[in-house]
Subunit: 466 residues, 2 copies
């Protein structure tokens, strides 16, 4: 403990020496930050929130009936917590209905497969599509294949997702899910079934958004579980002539209105300047949306509540944004950026929690180089909560990822995501996957972050080139 | 190593001193036993067998089309391995069709539930059964409830299965699955949905056999996953008025013929005396039957093959029995006992492998007290393979569990089942759950066991009272 206090002290001295204003990062802010940490670590609020959301609302696919139940839940919860302001903003969201998903190997060794439709996929004909499969290691391999290899077949992209604390394996494999149907259709494929983008060995398929492209035929898209992909590979060792039958009844059903739900703690001296902490309220429909992103909703709400309850409010307004429709294309985030275009220059910094409930081990920023240096010193109190000060290449989380291009600085509070992709976008995304103590540590980090940023006098703009 | 050789030597001396015949447990048997272990640990045969069964046959519910595919697979595999005899014996098995299983909480917080029909369950009416639930900690608690508490409701038995190396948690909770529908119907319940009998936190329900009783109304029976049971409990903290809707289309469809598939290595000097090592060929239909009981099939087949390949065959016949229809009521085991009634007195000892593919840590016996003492010494070579000599209270495995009552000694080669009930009777029972090295250790143990028993001159009968 002592050692860290010394670090902070030296940091502040350094800050003074390099000429930054230090009036707002004084010892009273350090005390408040410590207090926030203590309170966060002893509060069950975040766990109660994510329990409430998963139990009383459950799955809440954007544009579904339950999505609006979630919006009501959020409004009512934020109001009951006593935030200075609670309001919602309309978001037009695409409506996709999952329907039934069924697949089986029909030759040479008939067996059922465990699959799930990818979000946005069209249906197959009712009788299904039955065809030989053609396997590729990756989206890249598919893109390099000839039309002849692929035409008339069901494409199977077999990209294994590697486990990493940072989740970087997902970034490597998810292209096949997002763009596989386009690449496959361009070469005449009838459908695509990918190996799930997930690090588990559970016989559960991982859903997630896929895209079509204007001018390219839409083909049905699904994912099979990792054990099923292993099974198909074992068959491919025996025969190249493997037939799969795929039946999906998914449907795109136009658009509906959902809402970004927002709560604010009004800043005491710069109320028009905003520190944004967000998470997304929508979830996929097969789990209860506990780690994705009930945890984030709980973390930023509980962090906001701690700041709301401070005897003296920080200088800037802290805005808690619960985004709509992240899963189906960052719709809430994009809509927020548009709706708030005029005040984006008043957004001091923004961060979204959307990577489960693993402990935060590092905070990265995206600001000017000098701003980054200042924030690095300013954020020293967070190291007490085992959050290291990281780099200046953050993207800030999905729903705020478009803000840096609009000049808004962001931060990424990096969570340990070692097991995140075991459960992500599957029925296994349930409350039991959240460790209460880790959730508290997250709340502490977000509360400290929001408070320190709301008090900061460091200039963060213009953002440095990456 | 050396220390164990000394133990064996002392054991043999002791055996000689207590007056047992030692002519067949001489040093050449020890050498053969060691050789079998070496060969087992360096052979991939068992893994290849379980891969072949799970990939080329897959799910093989007793009485289904795939069940007969499995029988053909077994006959052909055993023949190709060159056993002295391969034959099959007809078994009449009940045919149950799973159909669709669907459930949701309809009030106060509507959410879908992940469930599975229990084996043998009848269907609900097509429109389903919707009713309030009544929760019990255990079958015992249900049995003690009043008719009034239960009548007109859906019973929810919420018995958590504890994790143990021995699997003893299953024994404590499985009563609710097997007999819950009877107890619930006797008190006027409309249906029963139990917490899955499983130790995992996966959102997968565990199926398994349930029973009805003549004279008691048949009601539909299902299991929900552990996370779903947690969800229901979280709702019960908020309200006692929880409604569930259950739809099952399961069907009992009479009887079909399946087969026990049998291979033998003919004994060199006592060919009419039998050492039986078995496993069951059928599986539940939602996984590929890798750990239950593809692993067992592979273990005893590979062990038999090692004995078949010995330059000098052991005294007794080693019989490898791949039982039909274990899952639906030990039907293959019971039929075997009946079919072979006349030669049961020639069965020296029997053991079944049906607990996954975890390492064997102990061998228990069920024989006369003197027989047990003799076997304990005789089995010393197995300690080289990390198999400790256990007690005299074995039951021998499900399909041989009825044999002790008919005078036949049995052995239980105890596997580490710490994670067995994570996957048992779920879609997650797939090949990736088997550790190849552990499978080899099992083969070594079964090969040594079968060989030492086939050579033994210890008298095992009559079996001591438990």
């Amino acid at each position: 403990m002592k050692n860290n206090y010394l670090k902070v002290l030296f940091g502040l001295i350094f800050l003074a020496l390099v000429g930054c204003q230090t009036s707002d990062t004084d010892s009273s802010d350090l005390l408040v930050s410590q207090k926030l940490q203590q309170k966060a670590l002893s509060s069950d609020l975040a766990y109660e929130l994510v329990e409430s959301l998963t139990v009383e609302v459950g799955p809440r696919l954007a544009g579904s009936e339950q999505d609006l139940v979630a919006v009501k839940w959020a409004e009512s919860k934020l109001q009951s917590l006593g935030f200075d302001k609670v309001y919602k903003e309309a978001v037009q969201v695409p409506v996709w209905h999952r329907g039934q998903a069924k697949a089986s190997i029909t030759a040479p060794y008939p067996q059922p497969l465990v699959i799930t439709a990818l979000g946005g996929s069209i249906a197959t004909p009712i009788e299904g599509i039955e065809a030989n499969i053609v396997r590729f290691d990756s989206l890249n391999a598919l893109q390099q294949a000839s039309h002849n290899e692929v035409s008339g077949k069901i494409v199977f992209i077999d990209h294994i997702t590697e486990r990493h604390k940072t989740g970087k394996g997902y970034g490597k494999s998810v292209g096949g899910r997002a763009k596989g149907a386009i690449a496959a259709a361009e070469k005449g494929a009838l459908a695509i079934i990918i190996r799930s983008i997930g690090t588990d060995h559970d016989r559960m398929a991982h859903t997630g958004m896929m895209r079509y492209k204007d001018g390219v035929k839409k083909i049905p898209a699904a994912a099979m579980s990792n054990p099923d992909a292993d099974l198909v590979n074992a068959m491919l060792k025996r025969s190249n002539d493997i037939k799969i039958k795929l039946q999906l009844s998914s449907e795109n059903q136009g658009f509906a209105t959902s809402y970004n739900v927002i709560a604010e703690i009004t800043g005491s001296s710069k109320p028009d300047e905003i520190v944004l902490i967000g998470a997304h309220l929508d979830s996929w429909d097969e789990g209860t949306g506990a780690i994705d992103d009930g945890a984030g909703v709980a973390i930023v709400t509980a962090a906001g509540k701690l700041i709301q309850d401070l005897p003296v409010k920080p200088a800037r307004t802290v805005r808690v944004v619960l985004y709509a429709a992240e899963e189906v294309g960052l719709i809430g985030g994009k809509t927020y950026a548009k709706t708030h275009q005029a005040e984006l220059d008043k957004h001091y910094i923004a961060a979204e929690s959307d990577f489960g409930a693993g402990r935060i081990y590092q905070i990265d920023f995206r600001a000017s180089e000098q701003g980054y240096a200042g924030l690095s010193l300013l954020s020293q109190p967070m190291t007490e909560n085992n959050v290291a000060i990281g780099n200046n290449t953050a993207s800030g989380g999905p729903d705020v990822s478009m803000l840096p291009a609009m000049g808004v600085p962001v931060a990424s509070l990096r969570q340990d995501g070692s097991d995140y992709f075991d459960y992500h976008h599957t029925p296994n995304d349930t409350l039991d996957k959240i460790e209460p103590a880790a959730l508290k540590q997250n709340v502490a980090a977000y509360a400290q972050f929001a408070y320190l940023m709301a008090q900061s006098t460091v200039e963060l703009r213009p953002i440095a080139a990456k």
